[in-house]
Homo-oligomer: 446 residues x 2
Amino acid sequence: MSARRLHLNVNLLHSGVYPSAWRLPASRPDAFMDVGHYVRVARIAERGKLDAIFLADTPSVSDRIDYRPFLSLEPTIVLASVAAATTHIGLIATASTTYNEPYNLARRFATLDHASGGRAGWNVVTTADAAASCNFGLASVLEHGARYERAREFVDIVHALWDSWEDDAFVGDKETGRFVDTTKVHPIRHRGAHYAVEGPLNVPRPPQGRPVTVQAGGSNDGRDLAAATADAVFTLSQTIADGVAYARDLRARAASLGRAPGSIVILPGLATVIGSTEAEARRRQDELWELVPLEYSLARLAGTLQIAPERLALDKPLPDPLPLPANANQTMFQGTVALARRDNLTVRELLRALGGGVGHRIVVGTPDAVADDIEAWFRAGAADGFNLMPDVLPEGLETFVDAVVPILQRRGLFRTAYAGSTLREHLGLDRPPSRNAQPGPESLSA
Amino acid sequence: MSARRLHLNVNLLHSGVYPSAWRLPASRPDAFMDVGHYVRVARIAERGKLDAIFLADTPSVSDRIDYRPFLSLEPTIVLASVAAATTHIGLIATASTTYNEPYNLARRFATLDHASGGRAGWNVVTTADAAASCNFGLASVLEHGARYERAREFVDIVHALWDSWEDDAFVGDKETGRFVDTTKVHPIRHRGAHYAVEGPLNVPRPPQGRPVTVQAGGSNDGRDLAAATADAVFTLSQTIADGVAYARDLRARAASLGRAPGSIVILPGLATVIGSTEAEARRRQDELWELVPLEYSLARLAGTLQIAPERLALDKPLPDPLPLPANANQTMFQGTVALARRDNLTVRELLRALGGGVGHRIVVGTPDAVADDIEAWFRAGAADGFNLMPDVLPEGLETFVDAVVPILQRRGLFRTAYAGSTLREHLGLDRPPSRNAQPGPESLSA
């Protein structure tokens, strides 16, 4: 058995995870809408031998755009352009099960997988955001349980469509004129509670069999969905203990469904602020924090908690009790509240700890300190790797690739070259057979 | 006033418009699912200074895949990859109003327009295909009028979303921290018979203001939709007289809606089979025709006419009368029947005239003959240019670009270099202002 290896994705959030990243001297404010920026970051990630770039998404104006860059360009289109300009880096796009049709989505990701030679991944979200529902004819957002019930059916349909062509259905024999062996192309005939989809997909089986399925929900429903369907999870954990508990819980759920507990790659978010000394890193963090308007940080925190900003007194702790609102992003809500309660923070201190809206755990320090942190989580079993969120892009990723990656490589934790060409190969995941694959003469005689 | 210039798109139909194109020695049977093939053809089109490449689409298995390549990869994803590998060629993707959400579609094309520096076009179709309806939970296809009624509302929403950001709404001022001037970003608050969409789009205004809108319907409803919303139309005409009558009708409809009659670029489909002599071209056509299985040609014709193949006797004319079926693709149906009746063809002769499933007008001959044909249609006002359908790709386009384009250039009919960088500029179309644009101090004092 080969040594367990670390996996690293980079969350390509426009100008960087700090809401103020766009204001630094080297940053280009319009990077969020410039595909060239995404290509540059992807090439740096590829130079660092990272597993994948990851694009978040929501189909609405999702943030205070008066203050900061936001989720804007449609991720699968961006990644198709990035695919043409790169060769190895994995390409994970977020897409909502609540606001897409399964046939269209299965087809778009299958196409991206063909276009990239097997590097596509789909991050499944159900989209808690109320503004999105109004862009799709709904008066209000579906409640959490209903969204996840639809999501489960949706993911199952997408997987069935990716399996609807057997791997050898395409023939293309010029002599006989036989183009496709239609006995190996199967309708899926899905009739469920929420969807009816006949199939088959009109795209031959993707190079990866199925593009990698990623799931980012930390709620009970989200964990069940991940345990049943995900190849990788993008989680939010603030401590090693949280991370270990999450991993144990998720692997137990997967095992209870008959899956190998190690078959899901667990990748918590990790924001990084790196300096050549501890003091330099701290100064960089201070600079980024001071450029975030307080009004923005407060509005963002109030949004996460789904309460009025007036209920937040800067020099007092969070209101107590603080019940979970029906339509909250549960992962974000719980992570934020846990952080505040653990260190008994005032709202002002919490805003700073959250980086003015970063949301995920932030590690601040030298390349060695960042590598130590990563190694500690990895060895404790709190993570199989990380979804990196550099403070500023591309600069923060460049520093990570040039200064932290070599340390991780020297320690034998991270690859020094890509061993394969597909995202599944990078992540150490098997290529799933089509559910329609027939045992042929070869397999019978094996 | 500058001289009227010809416009040429190439319909990038996998291995070429002939169903047998994939069987020629130089063809690669898997070209239909290889994005590299689309890139190669696009680069040849760009070398020939063509206006755009055009991708047809339907979200289903749309043809007899046992015999031939089919509409497979999702076009906007393919074009995003092509965008990264080209600099000038326009990029037109077909997408259905019946099986998409307007917010998602507006966003995907706006993203493609940003990613390509203003080269995106959307070919609006309503998708007559019955197999598609079963992939989206519908028991049967919506009837023609209902599809077009939804389409009109859909296109209006998409245009409104593209206008929801004024051109100067993005600020990005590092000093003040102002990122977007939100007074210049407008919800659309659409509440219609079929859709409710709040907006605004989460993508700043596309480089072209609005990506080019193309429409391909020849029916009465299709013409009304084109007259109201299209920048360009992809039509089917078999004779110059048909083409002139179509152009007159469409321009009159546009004028009655207050649009400049010349503001719509009319581009009939034109299949080309080119040889260095007339005899060589005929031999090439024979070779392509003989490689199409008769069973396939018959099934395809029966599908266009929506009748059972058994009703078609090879050596007799088409059944008469032959009423227009409710769910037919009207443009294809009428073009096919008109061709058969005009020359009093038997079914066998009709199949050959249709190229075994080409559907559009076929010109067979030397480069000079092809150029003469194009010039005659253009000068008669039957066309502003053509949607070229080379017999075989990339070979047939290469011949067109190397042999026919220089003739058209020498005759002063076609550009020798791109004058602009956007698809609107290639097509001679104005960049539309946002409907929300306010007259500023500059325009008041001008």
